[in-house]
């Protein structure tokens, strides 16, 4: 089978890039896949990058309104046996028009007669658009919601749409009458081997792309409170600005730059990810909203790290539904966050228990197993549409 995977791909710093890279890795290892073509995002001109593997073609550009046309043209030339899209609603652009126009691509692929599955990591319905930084006024929120419904309908033009949360399947079925939606677990990126022990250092890790719904102000204030209890506490901010929030981290450092014990790593290359997680005692999720199943939580689980999370939306649901455990705090409550972190620092055995529960939840299903589900769905689609 020749499979095309549409995704962000390293060293791009777009969203879902780690997931896309791991999806490509597991698909290419499957005996059913004779050929995998990754249809990736173009890198910024100023980015120095090593050459891509030969099966990676950079054909779309974050923010361009022409992405669906470019993808359709490339797919028409390639004629793969199936196309899988790794998407969230802002994958193709930070503003409404390019983001929405890009989401036409799966429907266009289907129109070419090629079996198409879209893995949709979030839904408009479950996102607090204002908290997540996409709408600054009620009017804009209304407009975006209406647009969101329209483009969710367009995404549903895929032969199949996969989501990583059972509630998303329910919403798509209930609100849109969709019959072509299924649940596919997120999956752990790789079998991490035995769980690494917790480090001695009291180090908090925040990992991701910051500035929209992942905001660090509350965590930095909590860090200041923790320093009064133990001056050796460290906070590692690992990651970059979200593509939708340029300049966020720089602005944050200008305001909070004098707090001791804070390390900003910048972009973490894939080969450094294991070290960053293994050296952390706890992973904090400084979210003000959620936009879907959390890849960072799965990574925390892989490295047997306890999590501290806000009690919001589907994040808590994911924790419970997939067997993860976390200490919780109220969103925006720095004191509550500091207390939650301290409960773990002050009771190492308890922190280890939570970390091990997360480890078991994470490694229960590997992404390479999830890839088999997609291949079985493709096989069924190909049989159905063969004639």
């Amino acid at each position: 089978m020749h499979l095309a995977l549409v995704t962000t791909y390293p060293p791009s710093q777009g969203t879902l890039v780690e997931y896309g890279a791991h999806l490509a890795r597991v698909f290419v290892a499957k005996p059913e896949i004779e050929r995998l073509t990754v249809l990736a995002d173009c890198l910024p001109k100023e980015m120095a990058a090593p050459p891509d593997p030969p099966n990676v073609r950079r054909v779309w550009t974050f923010g361009s309104p022409l992405n669906s046309l470019r993808l359709a043209r490339t797919i028409q030339q390639l004629r793969p046996d199936g196309v899988i899209y790794n998407l969230q609603f802002a994958s193709f652009g930070g503003s409404a028009v390019p983001a929405a126009l890009g989401l036409l691509a799966p429907g266009m692929t289907r129109a070419l007669g090629i079996p198409t599955i879209t893995l949709l990591h979030n839904l408009f319905e479950t996102i607090d658009l204002r908290q997540a930084g996409y709408a600054q006024s009620p009017f804009k929120e209304q407009v975006l919601r209406a647009g969101g419904r329209l483009f969710t309908r367009l995404l549903l033009q895929s032969h199949l749409v996969a989501t990583t949360m059972p509630t998303y399947v329910e919403i798509l079925r209930r609100e849109y009458g969709a019959k072509n939606v299924f649940l596919a677990p997120h999956g752990a990126f790789e079998d991490p081997g035995p769980p690494p022990p917790l480090p001695e250092a009291k180090r908090v890790l925040a990992f991701g792309k910051f500035g929209t719904y992942k905001r660090l102000e509350t965590l930095l204030e909590a860090h200041q409170l923790l320093l009064k209890r133990d001056p050796a506490v460290e906070l590692v901010v690992a990651g970059t600005n979200s593509p939708n929030a340029p300049g966020y981290l720089e602005g944050l450092r200008a305001v909070y730059g004098d707090i001791p014990g804070v390390i900003y790593t910048g972009y973490v290359p894939e080969e450094e990810v294991a070290k960053v997680f293994s050296e952390a005692y706890v992973v904090a999720f400084p979210y003000t909203a959620t936009t879907g199943s959390s890849g960072v939580l799965h990574q925390a689980g892989q490295y047997a790290r306890p999590a501290v999370m806000p009690r919001i939306g589907d994040l808590a649901e994911l924790v419970e539904a997939e067997g993860y455990r976390a200490e919780f705090f109220s969103p925006g409550d720095a004191k509550g966050l500091a207390e939650a972190l301290w409960r773990l620092f002050s009771d190492r055995e308890y922190a280890q228990q939570i970390g091990l529960a997360n480890y078991r939840a994470s490694v229960g299903v590997l992404l390479e197993d999830v890839a088999d589900w997609y291949l079985l769905h493709f096989e069924r689609l190909r049989r159905k549409y063969a004639h």
């Binding site: 199949l160 649940l183 596919a184 997939e322 939840a361 229960g364 299903v365 079985l376």
Partner: protein, 96 residues
């Protein structure tokens, strides 16, 4: 989880009982051996999580690759529901 194995009419039948989740999957993996014609009787299974589903998919793929037959039967409603929501109900070899 409790597993029993017996042979009947040339088929190897495993009856499974209890929860089929991440904590039980390693034990199941080591207990289940695919015969030429294997039946998983899940009448006693009231819960399956994604790791249990991954094992079912894995067994099905392996059986196909090795030219063996695998049948899953007697699903309880909660198990049928999770198979339906994952789209696996129409893919895995489930006996009506």
């Amino acid at each position: 989880m409790h597993i029993e194995r017996y042979d009947q009419d040339g088929r190897t039948i495993y009856t499974l009982q209890g929860r089929f989740d991440a904590h039980q999957v390693p034990m199941l993996k080591s207990s289940l051996e695919l015969g030429s014609n294997t039946v998983l009787d899940m009448a006693g299974v009231n819960f399956v999580d994604s790791s249990g589903l991954a094992l079912l998919v894995n067994l099905y793929k392996r059986a196909r690759e090795e030219g063996r037959t695998l049948t899953i039967r007697n699903l309880q409603d909660p198990v049928r529901l999770i198979l339906e929501i994952t789209g696996l109900l129409g893919i895995l070899p489930i006996e009506a």
